[in-house]
Structure formats: C-alpha cells, structure tokens
C-alpha cells in the first residue's frame, strides 16, 4: 500500500469520526435547545406572576451574604460594590475579600465607603490564608471588607464564607454588575424549595458596549468591536440553550463564578472552594453533586435564566486566549479529580449524561474539531477531498452551528429581549453566521493548547486586563 493510499484511508476513517462527532454534538445541542425552549417559555410565563416587590419586603425572605473576592481590582471595585449596595433585596450583607491586592483596591474601598477596623469574629470553618484585618463601613452597615494575604480566588471566597452570617451566600466577581432584581430572582428557587435547592446560578451577559452609570447598566447595546459580539452570541447559546437544558435534566455542572448563590451549610460540609483547579466554580458544583448524591438526599442545582449579571468580556484575542485556556484547564482538572463519577450510575443523570458529555464533547471535542478542519484543508491540498464529505462537513459543522446560534437568538427574542434596537438584532444575526467562519475554530485551537498546557501542568491565572466601567464621560466599557 502506497503512502498516499494509506493517508487516504486514514483520512477517510478520521473524516467519518469527525462527521459522527459533529452529528452527535449538534444533536445534543438540538435536544438541549428544544428542552430550553419549553423551559424558557414556562419561565417567562411564571416570571410574569412573580412578586419580587413582596419578596423584597417580606421579612421571611432568606437573607444573603454577598461575597466579592477582589485581587487588584482598583478600577472596578468601587462600582461593583456600589451596584451591589443598590440591589433590591431585603436583608443582605456584602463581604468584599481583598485577596492580597498590590494595587489600591483596599485604599479605594476605605476612602469611598468610610471603612474602619472592627473586631468582628472570624470563625475559621474552612481553612484560609491569614486574615490581616476586618473592616466595617460607617456609611453602609451591611458592608464588610476582609483584608487577607493572597491565597487565590477560592481562598478569598472561603474567607468570605467564614465571615458570612447568613445561610445563603452569593459569589460575585469584582468586575461584574448585577441587575436590581437579580438577587430576588435567583433566590426564588431557594424560597420555593428550601430543603432541596443547594445552588442556583443566573445568566451572565456581556457589558461591553453598554452604558454604565453609578454601578448600573443604563443602556443596553452591543459593542462596536467584533470579539465581544461574538462572545455575546456564544454566551446566549451557552446560557439560554445549554444551561437551561442541563438544569432541567438535573445535571447542571456549572454555575458561573460571576454570579451564583449557594447554601452555606452544604458548601462548608464539603470544605468550601478548592485550590486544586483553575475553575473553582465548576469544581464546587461538581463536588456538591457528588456530596448530595452520596448523602442520598433529594437536591437540585438550578439555573435561572433571568437574573442578569453583567461582566466585561475580553476585547483582544490574547486576553480571550488566556481566559479560555484557564477555563479549559479547569475543566480538565475538575473532570480528572472527579473521574469516578464518569458513567457511574450512582450519580444519576450527572454521572451518566452530563459527565460523559463534558468529557467527550467539551474536553476532547476541540481535538476532533480542530483536526477535522485540518483534515479538510490537508485533503484539499493533497487533491483527495471528497465532495460528499465536504458537503456533509459543511452541513453539520457550519450550517448546523449557524442554525443553533440563530435558535439561541430566537430564544432571546421570544423571552427576555435584552437588546431592543434593530441594529443590535442585525448585528447578532450577522455574527451568528460569522462566528462559524473563524471564531469557533480559533476557540477550538485555544482549547487544544489549554489541554496541552494542563498536561504540562502549566498554571497561570489568565489575568483579565480591565478597562473599568468608567469611560467615555462616565460611560462604560
């Protein structure tokens, strides 16, 4: 057999694998989309009847400790805290954990919120690095700032949990802004089924392009840059179709670290956030599943599609690459740490569906995807590109992808309609096409590199370069 013939055979086999992979992946997406469609419509109808005002006024609504870990966040921390202080909620406390910042994060908080040192007890339910001081605010009694030595985001969150007074805690990124009623919306699953709900997360949307004033998003619009818009389409697909679907199947593995709410007792029982992965949010939820399954108690981890947390998205490829590198490394580390759950019926839907999906499609999928595209190019260069294969590949990899993106936009349009302008809608529709020609492929390549980095045990935090919310005459990013 000649080398060319062998290559042809090898490519044919590989092509078949790639096609099967894309068909399987997109079929799962389609099922998730259909589930999400039903669920989102149900949710919207229920939201119409929500009593958020009554919930806020009721003294029976669960109080919440809001934890904001901050490391070198001097540009955004004041705005983030201000947005939190203005949130519509009855009883809540805000705990900012300054995790060994080297910039003026702590100084800015002290100055703006009139902080002074207090002797508030710090119960070390979860071990953390040394706490240097606890500050209370003279102007805002529900604001506390913990100054501690650097230990990473998970350590900062654990310190916040140790200091939290209330039975529920909410983790929020220091560069995020949450909407007025977001806490009320996300706490609702806990109010409805307090014995079962252990965690709930809300949708994260991209603030780039929006106007932000005094810690509030005052005008919603898409960015003028391509990269943030591509991420908007990607986030819509991931949150509105992916997480809603998984949540409905009781298999939600991710609650975004940017905005999630948890029952403190269960999190303390499992030892809080771990330092062993780069994505502590994902790992915590997986460990909660494992813990609750082992306890054999009915429980639920819920995704609520309406509470909105606005966050800054990377505007350059290099920052995006670092962010995605960290996310993918975290995924690999988490799946590896909990590999016993894979195809383990003891863990129900999580072990039998969600875990295999994440392992096969989210973790290893980028290899198939990247090498699939390469195979098309190599076949074409060698003059052995099979037209049938190419058409099929086009259908399942590109057209199907476009269809799913447009479906996510449809879901957004029939439910929340956050982007009211025609221009924004046109941009979203256009980018749902464009993303399939370059962006998705680049993301796959980034994930392949992340896998490689994880194997070589490279760990870096993928520092986000913040531009801050104040720009263009107090207008946002």
């Amino acid at each position: 057999m000649s080398a060319m013939a062998f290559l042809q055979d090898a490519l044919a086999v590989f092509n078949a694998v790639v096609l099967f992979y894309f068909i399987a992946l997109n079929s799962i997406y389609l099922i998730l989309f259909l589930i999400s469609l039903v669920e989102v419509l149900k949710f919207v109808r229920r939201t119409f009847f929500s009593d958020y005002r009554q919930m806020m006024q009721s003294d029976m609504t669960w109080p919440i400790s809001v934890l904001i870990p901050a490391h070198n966040e001097e540009k955004t921390i004041v705005e983030t805290v201000r947005s939190m202080l203005m949130v519509n909620y009855g009883e809540f406390e805000i705990i900012v954990v300054n995790d060994g910042s080297e910039d003026l994060t702590l100084r800015r908080l002290i100055d703006v919120y009139e902080l002074r040192r207090t002797d508030r007890p710090y119960k070390r339910a979860i071990p953390t690095s040394n706490v240097r001081a606890v500050y209370g605010s003279l102007s805002h009694p529900n604001l506390t700032v913990v100054d501690k030595e650097k230990g990473g985001k998970s350590d900062a969150l654990n310190a916040g949990i140790n200091l939290a007074r209330y039975p529920l805690f909410c983790s929020i990124d220091a560069d995020s802004i949450i909407e007025d009623n977001a806490l009320l919306r996300v706490v609702k699953p806990f109010m409805e089924k307090p014995d079962e709900t252990v965690a709930a997360g809300g949708i994260v949307r991209i603030v780039n392009g929006c106007d932000v004033k005094d810690g509030r998003v005052t005008r919603i619009a898409l960015s003028d840059r391509a990269l943030p818009i591509l991420q908007v389409v990607e986030y819509l697909r991931a949150f509105l179709t992916g997480r809603v679907g998984w949540s409905n199947l009781q298999s939600l593995l991710i609650i975004s670290g940017a905005f999630g709410i948890y029952r403190k007792q269960e999190v303390i029982e499992i030892g809080g956030y771990t330092h062993d992965t780069d994505t502590e949010d994902l790992e915590l939820v997986v460990r909660l599943h494992e813990h609750m399954r082992r306890k054999k108690k009915p429980y639920r981890v819920v995704f609520v599609p309406d509470p909105v947390c606005w966050t800054e998205a990377p505007e350059t490829l290099s920052v995006l690459a670092r962010q995605r590198n960290r996310w993918h490394r975290g995924l690999l580390q988490t799946l590896w740490l909990h590999k016993r759950m894979l195809f383990n019926p003891k863990y129900g839907n999580v072990g039998m569906f969600a875990f295999p999906y994440f392992a096969v499609f989210e973790l290893l999928g980028p290899f198939v995807e990247t090498f699939g595209y390469l195979a098309v190019i190599v076949s074409y260069l060698l003059g052995i590109l099979d037209v049938q294969f190419f058409l099929m590949f086009l259908a399942v990899a590109v057209l199907y992808g476009m269809f799913l993106s447009i479906a996510a936009i449809l879901l957004e349009e029939i439910s929340f309609r956050r982007y009211p302008g025609w221009l924004d809608l046109t941009k979203l529709l256009a980018y749902s096409v464009i993303e399939n020609f370059g962006y998705r492929q680049v993301l796959s390549a980034m994930k392949v590199k992340a896998f490689w980095d994880a194997i070589r045990r490279r760990r870096a935090w993928g520092q986000m370069q913040r531009r801050g919310f104040q720009k263009k005459d107090a207008v946002a990013v």
């Binding site: 109808r45 229920r46 119409f48 009847f49 009593d51 009554q54 919930m55 006024q57 009721s58 003294d59 029976m60 609504t61 002074r116 040192r117 207090t118 002797d119 508030r120 007890p121 710090y122 040394n130 706490v131 240097r132 001081a133 606890v134 609702k188 109010m191 409805e192 089924k193 307090p194 037209v387 049938q388 058409l391 099929m392 086009l394 259908a395 057209l399 199907y400 476009m402 269809f403 447009i406 479906a407 936009i409 449809l410 349009e413 029939i414 025609w422 809608l425 529709l429």
Partner: protein, 410 residues
C-alpha cells in the same frame, strides 16, 4: 447519496433562513402592535380617567357608547393599571367599570380555562377588580393544580377581603411551596385582626410549616387577643413553634410574658433560647439581666449575640451588666460584651473620660484595660490615632503599649 446531502444542506439552510425571518417579522409585528396600542392609549386614557374622576356618569358614555374589539385590550390595561393605584371613590368607579364592560365575566371564564397562565392572570385581575361575587370562584381556585394560580387566587382573596376569604387562606398555609406560604402569610398579615381567631382555631390541623407561619402571622399582626395563646405555645412540643412563639411575644412587646421567656432561656433547644433572649431585649426586661448574663456564656453564638443585644437594650442596668461581664472568665461572653459596649458607644465614652480624674477616670481605665485584655483593640487603636484630645491619645498609647502586628481574630 449526493442528492440526499444537498437536500440536507438545503434543509438546514432553509430552517436557518426561516428562523431569521421569524425573528425579524416577530420583532416588527411586536413593535407595530405596541405602537398602535400606545397611540390608542393616548386617546382612551383621558376618557377613562374622566369617568374615574366623576366627570362622566358611566364608563360606556365616557367611551362613546362602547369599546371596539381592537380597543378591548387597551381599555383593560388602562383600567387595571389605574385600579391598583387609586383608592376611595375612584377605585370603586374603576372596579364598577371593569364589571360593566364585561371584563369581570371574562376573568371568571378564564379562571376555569385550560391554560394555567390565563387562570393565574384571571385570578390576579379579579383581585384587582375587587369583585366580591368572585370570592367563591377564587376560593375554589385555591385548589388549582398549579401553584402560581393558587397564589394569585390567594392574593385576590386577600384583596377582596371578608370572612369568606379567611378560612381558605388559612388552610392554604399548608402549601408545600415555601414561597407560597410566605406570600399567603403576608396576605393574612395584611388582613389584620379579622384572621386571628381563625388562625388559632385552625392551628392544630395545620402541618408543621403552616403552624410556624401561623405563629409568625400572629406576632406580626400584634394582636393582644393572641397573647395568652402565644404564651401557651411556649410549652409546645415542637421546638420551632416555641422559638417562633417567643419571637412573636417579643414582637408584640408583651411584658407579662417575661417570666416565661426567662424560663425559655434554659430551653434545651438553642433556637428557643436565642429567640427568648431577643424577645426579652425587645420588652426591655431589667429583671432578666442575671439570666441574660448567663446566656452570654451559652455555647451557641446566636444565643450569646441576642443576649448581648438584649442587655444593651435593657438600659443603664444592662450596660452595667455588660461592663461587669468584661471580667468574666468566659472568653466568648467577654467578647460579646466588648462588641456590644463598642456598638453602643460606651467604649468611646469611657475613652473620653480618660482625660478626667477621680473615680470616673479610674472606672474608664478599668474598662479600657479589660478591652485590651480581651484583645478587642481595633477601636482603641483607631481612637489612639484620631481622638481630638492629646491627653486621651497619650493615655491610650500608654495603656495599649507599642503596636504589635494584628493578631488573627478568634
């Protein structure tokens, strides 16, 4: 094969185009519809308000004889928007308009419709319309299979009011959905004293969480009629009921309940002890000071915190007791006393007295020294750096000694 492939590609492309068209047309239709409704509202709203203000004898004449099919939704929205905002005669007129124009009948029909969200909406609207004749249908809707409908019906019954609404609402406290219970509890609380007797009568038949809600409601209504019953609940077999009863008695401010609340400080369950301490603070019971001092040494943080707060609220005698606790052997009790004295501004007052002389100064120094011995020095260090009087700052510096790296809080 190739034909099938082309067909697949074309199908996906067609679906893609159809979805795009659906999105664009959907948005265009919505915007046109909303624009038309806004325009009609600008015309019809002044006419409806003219009727509400009494300038027109009837809604039909105000609207020129009737409502066209295209305007039914607009008029309904205007009426429902305003009926929830106004009171008195205007409210009555708008309610009557909803009935006269046939909206109440439509809501009643929708209340037994097949779609749950229509039933929920109908129940909500019947409540806004204040339609007494819908009370029976709303009471029946409390057993609707969908919780949102039950909740709306409960809210509507609360708005419609009257004894016919109370019993179904009390029974609805047994809803498995906690948020429904909370909302129904709020509704019953807002109905006030008319629900007290029904709640107490129904209590034995309620389930566990409905019982707790019932006790809470009685505390929130502040009805003195419920006091003897609440005092008897302090010896209930359920710890949660005892705790809520203590809380309710504190909320009402029943001084006569003090002896029983003091006994509750020795309850085996910490939530009862915590709530009893809180209630004693609310009724400012000076006789409870020795028991509250003992509660400062409780093994549960909430009991200690509530006892300290209660001592602060008990007035000068309570403050003296807190100062006395600074010398206590129990570290946690000492700590709570420090926090509360600092919170009440007593520490600042003693620090200011360090500039004085005689017994006052001696007492001040003793208190400050005990704070230092308890390790509660943050405020003292701040005052040592910022106090307006040099002599106070010097005294504090002397008592505090050289600054040491802040120890980790216990």
């Amino acid at each position: 094969m190739q034909k099938a492939l082309v067909a697949t590609v074309l199908t996906i492309a067609l679906v893609f185009l159809l979805l795009t068209l659906l999105i664009v047309l959907g948005k265009a239709w919505r915007e046109l519809r909303d624009g038309r409704r806004r325009a009609r509202r600008r015309v019809l709203e002044p006419l409806v308000l003219k009727y509400a203000h009494g300038s027109s004898p009837s809604i039909l004449s105000a609207l020129g004889g009737g409502v066209g099919a295209g305007d039914r939704v607009v008029v309904e929205t205007i009426l429902l928007d305003h009926v929830s905002r106004v009171r008195g005669v205007e409210h009555e007129r708008l309610c009557r308009a909803l009935d006269e124009l046939g909206y109440v009948d439509r809501f009643l029909d929708a209340l037994s419709g097949p779609r749950w969200w229509r039933r929920a909406e109908a129940a909500e609207n019947l409540g806004l319309a204040g339609s007494k004749r819908s009370a029976k249908a709303l009471a029946e809707a409390l057993s609707d299979p969908v919780s949102e409908v039950r909740l709306r019906a409960a809210k509507a019954l609360g708005l419609v009011g009257g004894r016919a609404a109370v019993l179904p609402l009390v029974n609805a406290l047994a809803e498995p959905n906690r948020w429904s219970t909370i909302r129904i509890a709020d509704i019953l609380t807002n109905m006030g004293r008319e629900v007290v007797a029904e709640l107490m009568d129904a209590f034995p038949k309620l389930n566990a969480h409905a019982k707790l809600a019932a006790v809470d409601i009685l505390g929130r209504i502040h009805s003195l009629d419920a006091v003897p019953w609440l005092m008897s609940r302090l010896s209930d077999t359920e710890a949660d009921v005892r705790a809520r009863a203590a809380h309710a008695l504190g909320a009402i401010g029943v001084v006569d309940a003090a002896p029983q609340l003091r006994r509750a400080l020795n309850d085996a369950e910490w939530p009862v002890r915590a709530m009893a301490a809180k209630a004693l603070g609310r009724i400012h019971d000076a006789e409870a000071i020795p028991e509250l001092c003992a509660a400062l040494r409780d093994r549960e943080w909430w009991v200690r915190a509530n006892a300290a707060e209660a001592l602060k609220l008990a007035g000068p005698m309570g403050i003296d007791a807190l100062e006395g606790m600074l010398a206590d052997a129990d570290l946690y009790a000492k700590h709570q006393a420090c926090l509360m004295l600092e919170d009440a501004g007593i520490l600042d007052r003693h620090v200011a007295q360090l500039a004085g002389s005689g017994a006052v100064r001696t007492t001040a120094e003793a208190v400050v020294t005990r704070f230092i011995q308890a390790g509660q020095v943050s405020r003292l260090r701040e005052l040592a750096a910022t106090h307006s009087e040099l002599s106070v700052r010097s005294e504090l510096d002397r008592l505090l000694g050289p600054p040491v790296p802040a120890p980790e809080a216990p």
